[in-house]
Symmetry: C2
Subunit: 198 residues, 2 copies
DNA sequence: TAGAATTTAGAACAAATGTACTAAAAGTAT
DNA sequence: ATACTTTTAGTACATTTGTTCTAAATTCTA
């Protein structure tokens, strides 16, 4: 399978962004790594911000696809929550520079900031729905006043575990994801009912 | 009270960093805002990294002072945990650019990264101690296996609530701090005992 | 195959930045 | 008052970067 120049640029940019951060990496670096001229690169993507937007879109598409796939499953909601979050963690890690440079990117690229705010709104509603649904199935038992904080905690953790791991975690990628996902899931554990078997 | 040039530089740099992020702000910007030459500024601080290190040191000093002050109190540990975290949140917010540009700064300035890793180690031990202490006083009741995840969650939240707030929270500074601190404190609520009166 | 569209390489330019240097000004100590 | 140190302003230079432009090469299409 042969990648188009556009795709090659995106793939290489993702690697460099993840390794070095979204600043430090310029159109010239990416072009140089690919062995093409930066003039050519700028023909496809005017600047690094455009590349970042394209990669962000890739991430969103992958997450949407995952959500669609998982909601079709017939497993119980607890299992779905577990697997959905695990696979989300894996996908997020692929695009980790977006999380590592979170604020900087949002400040620089208003389009991404707007989209992200909307995305968070949706995710919050999804969480609310899943929790209500688990509540009614007696998988979990959460006092009403604890629901909103729990969702906030979960969303925040989901966005920033990668940043913390980048500085503090010693271990390979798989261990990293597994460890932080386990810690993430532990947010819900105090509320699990006994009949939440899985 | 007249500030020395050094202190004026640090104060202005803090403002600019918080507003615009630690990149975008250069020695020339800071000098220009202060109405001094950048040559003069570089006489005091060779470059922005040195300024960032100095501000980081200010933050650490303030947090240490707070810790010392609070451990001298005779209140119960739950109250201390509450107040210590609240005032830590306030101090962190003063130096929020350090958290907003967390990964970037750690990557750029190895000295800060090393120090921060050591600091996290200490904070983890402090948390462990406080929790064990509250446990023995029957303020809280946490299953052994939930302690480590809870501490990890608390430390992660403490570091990154500012980043999340920067993008998503609409409201003034005091509301922001109060909201996120409340959410932070909610991490402990599932484990509070009834006799944890306050 | 001829012509058109797309893709590519490379040069050129302006702006910004870190860094170093010089010399003047201000302050301090003897 | 004189010599010395610290502080300040301003200049200069090399590098990097984003951006634009030109022309050649390649691919596509009819």
């Amino acid at each position: 399978m042969v990648l188009s120049t556009k795709d090659k640029i995106l793939a290489k940019a993702l690697i460099l962004f993840n390794e070095q951060g979204s600043d430090f990496v310029t159109v010239r670096h990416i072009a140089s790594e690919l062995g093409i001229s930066h003039g050519n690169l700028c023909y496809h993507f005017a600047n690094t911000d455009v590349i970042i937007e394209a990669l962000y879109q890739q991430l969103v598409d992958k997450l949407n696809e995952l959500t669609k796939e998982m909601t079709g499953l017939s497993e119980n909601q607890l299992t779905i929550l577990y697997q959905l979050s695990y696979r989300s963690f894996e996908i997020l890690y692929q695009y980790r520079f977006l999380m590592l440079d979170f604020v900087r990117i949002m400040r620089r690229i208003p389009a991404i900031k707007l989209h992200f705010k909307a995305l968070m709104q949706i995710r919050q509603e999804q969480f609310t729905y899943i929790i209500a649904s688990m509540q009614s199935n007696s998988f979990i038992d959460i006092p009403e006043k604890n629901i909103a904080p729990l969702i906030e905690q979960a969303l925040l953790f989901g966005d920033f575990w990668i940043s913390r791991a980048e500085i503090l975690f010693d271990g390979n990628e798989q261990e990293k994801i597994a460890y932080y996902h386990k810690t993430f899931y532990a947010l819900f554990e105090p509320y699990l009912c006994d009949n939440a078997d899985w």
